[in-house]
């Protein structure tokens, strides 16, 4: 456990009487790609928010290389190396695409030609051609890329993607999946939250399945998919992407 990049220890998050996340523990090794799946309401996004400092667990701890993230303000979590995207994209709509990526570079204290660096980041997600466009003109798929570019610009050691494929066409999913695969091959540690397990299988080397706030399976994607508890949870939830 000592070499784990990210470690969740007994993370619990309650909202009043509802326990959204219930004593979840797992760790993510450096360089790995982990999928976090579950039906709607399984607690994925709540857990995700707890991991990235956007929500505080009721109890438990989240550690990056052994250092607790819980007491850090959000921007410190980002500077510590944990970066996230949003399921519902949140660009800076009135800023050009390139300025969206310049903001995290400036916030990270980048020196020199920030614009050139931003173009470099946009290239990694295949969005450099749109650099000068207002981000409000981008398609949903390109907005997801912009989210990723903005997260990448913080130079994360751990990148957490919140349902990157939600709301995309099958063609867009394929293209975005290729881009994410490329990031994984570059050595970025990934945690991908997804509702549809199908789009994940090619991307991740491990899947954690959640149901009703708890982890019900954790292992290789093909094993988790065959796990009876997972099958039951998904069939009960009515969708199995």
């Amino acid at each position: 456990m000592a070499d784990a990049l990210l470690e969740a220890r007994q993370v619990t998050r309650r909202f009043g009487g509802l326990t959204a996340v219930n004593e979840v523990s797992f760790s993510v090794e450096e360089g790995s790609a982990v999928g976090l799946i579950g039906a709607n309401g399984a607690g994925k996004t709540t857990l995700f928010n707890c991991l990235t400092g956007f929500d505080k667990p009721t109890s438990g701890d989240v550690r990056l290389r052994g250092k607790s993230l819980l007491r850090m303000p959000r921007h410190k979590v980002v500077h510590a190396g944990v970066s996230r995207t949003f399921q519902i994209v949140r660009p800076f709509p009135d800023l050009p695409v390139i300025a969206n990526v310049m903001v995290p570079l400036i916030a990270a204290g980048a020196k020199g030609d920030v614009k050139a660096q931003a173009v470099g980041v946009l290239m990694r997600v295949g969005l450099a051609a749109r650099a000068a466009d207002p981000s409000s003109q981008l398609s949903e798929g390109d907005l997801k890329r912009l989210e990723m570019a903005r997260a990448l610009a913080t130079k994360p050691t751990l990148l957490l993607l919140d349902e990157p494929f939600a709301g995309l066409s099958q063609a867009e999913i394929g293209l975005l999946s290729a881009t994410i695969g490329q990031l994984r091959d570059e050595g970025v540690t990934l945690v991908v939250v997804e509702h549809k397990i199908g789009s994940l299988i090619a991307l991740v080397d491990r899947v954690i399945a959640m149901d009703q706030g708890a982890v019900i399976a954790d292992g290789r994607p093909q094993d988790v998919m065959r796990d009876p508890a997972v099958v039951h949870a998904y069939l009960g939830g009515g969708s199995f992407g």
């Binding site: 959000r74 921007h75 500077h79 310049m102 903001v103 916030a107 920030v114 660096q117 051609a129 903005r150």
Partner: protein
């Protein structure tokens, strides 16, 4: 700074320079001293509006109580004149600036978590609390009377700058031939002009530089800015303090020009007028509100007074002015300046887009060369992928 931003700031600086040249030379063409007096006041209003814009236009924390900073700075100058006669005018201004900056912390901290109407109410209340406070300490502040006999600009080191500029542009013989009161009109005009120019230049540099971009990102989406690693609290509070400090400086300067400080500098009317000025000029552009301050102040204090109808019905002046604002905002909802800027920048933006497209077409190899000499992270992350 991106090329797009650099061009924007260039257009802004050109506009600013033209404005300054016109204003510097204006007294040589216009002998109307009443106009110069109004313009000296307008110079202060330019700073009011531009300092409001750096907080409200950039970070989106719309301040409905900017008068708190203006009046705060004004009363610091007034009280120092009354009780600490030894403090020179320049020291008064420095105190006004620091005092208003502290006020910025005091008001800014509780406002950090407030948004929209709640923030409006809080800032509004802050200004009206100061107004009430001025009545509580009536013995010191003079209550409705205010404080008169404030140290004049002419008596300070700054006055020397004004005198020098007047001699430079109008001729030494002209200046020496004037009565003291007329001399002070010119001194006030040039001093406020110089201070205004410095403040505006500083705000433009900030607003269109890296920090300005970060401030804008907060206005666009605070949560996304945090996710991008922006220390949002620090920036929001910083904007509050800077905005307050500069408004306090300008308020103190105005008080030294007028020679008195009154509670009108704490009124909500002033706060609202500043918002109107910013909206007329174009919120979030710095230079827009600055230009609009001249338009509005000249209309309000100079031209409308010349119209017989308004001389006979002074109470309708505000009505006519409001009508002008409403019509303008219907025609140009984003204010006067943004459409002009957009037109000025259109060719540059097109060129910029073409360059970027060319860069990206050149492929990933190009990426590592464009960023190789700077931050290693983007370059090194890209290179193995490109080579391997």
């Amino acid at each position: 700074m991106s090329g797009l931003l650099r061009r924007l700031v260039t257009v802004n600086v050109v506009v600013l320079l033209v404005m300054l040249v016109v204003l510097l030379l204006l007294p040589t063409y216009v002998s109307n001293r009443a106009l110069l007096s109004v313009l000296a006041i307008a110079n202060c209003y330019v700073m009011f509006a531009a300092s409001w814009d750096v907080l409200s236009g950039f970070t989106g924390q719309v301040n409905f109580g900017h008068a708190a900073f203006i009046g705060g700075g004004g009363f610091v100058v007034g009280l120092l004149s009354k009780y600490q006669e030894g403090v020179p005018a320049l020291g008064q201004l420095a105190s006004a600036t620091v005092g208003a900056a502290l006020l910025g912390v005091l008001i800014g901290v509780p406002c950090l978590r407030l948004k929209g109407p709640y923030l409006a109410l809080a800032t509004l209340s802050a200004a009206s609390a100061l107004l009430q406070l001025s009545f509580v300490f009536k013995a010191q502040t003079g209550g409705e009377e205010g404080i008169s006999g404030v140290t004049r600009l002419t008596e300070s080191g700054l006055g020397g700058i004004g005198e020098g500029l007047t001699r430079l542009f109008m001729g030494a013989a002209f200046y020496d031939g004037l009565r003291p009161l007329a001399q002070s009109t010119y001194v006030n005009y040039y001093v406020t002009l110089v201070v205004m120019a410095l403040v505006l230049l500083g705000l433009l540099r900030l607003g269109y530089g890296r920090r300005g971009l970060v401030l804008r990102s907060i206005q666009q989406d605070e949560l996304a800015a945090e996710a991008a690693g922006v220390p949002v609290v620090r920036y929001k509070l910083g904007a509050f303090v800077l905005s307050g400090a500069l408004a306090g400086l300008a308020g103190g300067l105005l008080v030294q020009v007028r020679g008195s400080v009154g509670i009108d500098l704490l009124f909500i009317d002033l706060s609202l007028l500043i918002i109107i000025i910013a909206a007329v000029g174009g919120v979030g552009t710095i230079i827009g509100p600055a230009i609009a301050a001249y338009v509005v102040m000249l209309l309000q204090l100079f031209y409308l007074d010349k119209v017989r109808f308004f001389q006979e019905n002074p109470e309708l002046k505000l009505g006519a002015f409001s009508l002008f604002v409403i019509v303008l905002l219907i025609v140009q909802p984003r204010g006067l300046l943004p459409p002009v800027m957009k037109r000025l920048n259109a060719p540059a933006a097109r060129r910029n887009a073409l360059t970027l497209a060319a860069v990206s077409a050149a492929g990933a190899g190009q990426a590592s060369t464009t960023s190789s000499d700077v931050e290693p992270a983007t370059g090194t992350d890209t290179e193995p992928a490109a080579r391997g």
